[in-house]
Symmetry: C2
């Protein structure tokens, strides 16, 4: 994989955030003139295949990306390929992924995410699918994504 200006800029933009960021946001942060939005999509996709970044979802279904840094440490296994879900009865997070590996799964990762309406938004109408909130920017330093990846 080649090192190009857009790719470096994307990584830099991701480094400035400490949590999942939307693609649009990354594009803005790195400066929209650096490259086309399409390129950001393609690069992030490539990065994901390399295990450099991980993808998660916002409550409206649009996706977020973040750098894979530490190895964070649960109830539902979904096959990335066929989409089938498989029951996971063992509860504690520890040893969870090891158990899945023993079942024959690879590229295991998991996400744990909470949703709710924050104090400031208490009185406003609910969000619908695809409806992107005014400022969907994760607040830096205040997010923890416990998704992890294992070969």
């Amino acid at each position: 994989m080649r090192i190009t200006k857009p790719r470096v800029a994307i990584i830099e933009a991701l480094l400035r955030h400490h949590g999942p960021v939307s693609i649009e946001r990354i594009h803005q942060d790195m400066g929209t003139r650096v490259c086309d939005l399409v390129t950001v999509y393609r690069c992030l996709s490539a990065f994901e295949n390399l295990g450099l970044v991980r993808r998660s979802y916002q409550h409206n279904g649009t996706c977020l990306y973040e750098l894979v840094l530490g190895t964070p440490s649960h109830y539902h296994i979904v096959c990335k390929h066929c989409g089938k879900t498989d029951r996971v009865d063992y509860f504690p997070v520890e040893g969870m992924e090891r158990m899945l590996q023993e079942r024959g799964y690879t590229q295991i990762s998991h996400i744990v995410e909470f949703f709710g309406v924050c104090p400031t938004c208490q009185k406003v109408a609910p969000v619908r699918h695809r409806e992107v909130p005014a400022e969907a920017t994760p607040v830096r330093g205040t997010s923890v994504n416990i998704e992890s990846s294992t070969l």
Copy 2:
């Protein structure tokens, strides 16, 4: 809210599954002639507002619905309205939602999901966004969705 043929059929279809199902799949299962796909979208959305069903996402970003039955029992709080994420330092799942309530969040829910490539798909190419897997049907009885909702 009125009881109509499509709504009954949707609930019945959901009852036949023990895990998250895609909207398309629900439509198929209940028989495409019962109502339009759009109606399924609208009904599920209404059910969700009533807390009857919960929504989650597939690894390609498309959404899944499932009946809210039991009350299942952490790291990332995302506002459903503005999309901002907020750090959650307290780790154990127990008491997590209570703590968030104390912070002023409402309509709290969370999802815990694992992703991986299942033994059967080991040798095939990776899935991309929006790319719906051949058979994305959750295997009944083998899924556990630990998302919960609190007012």
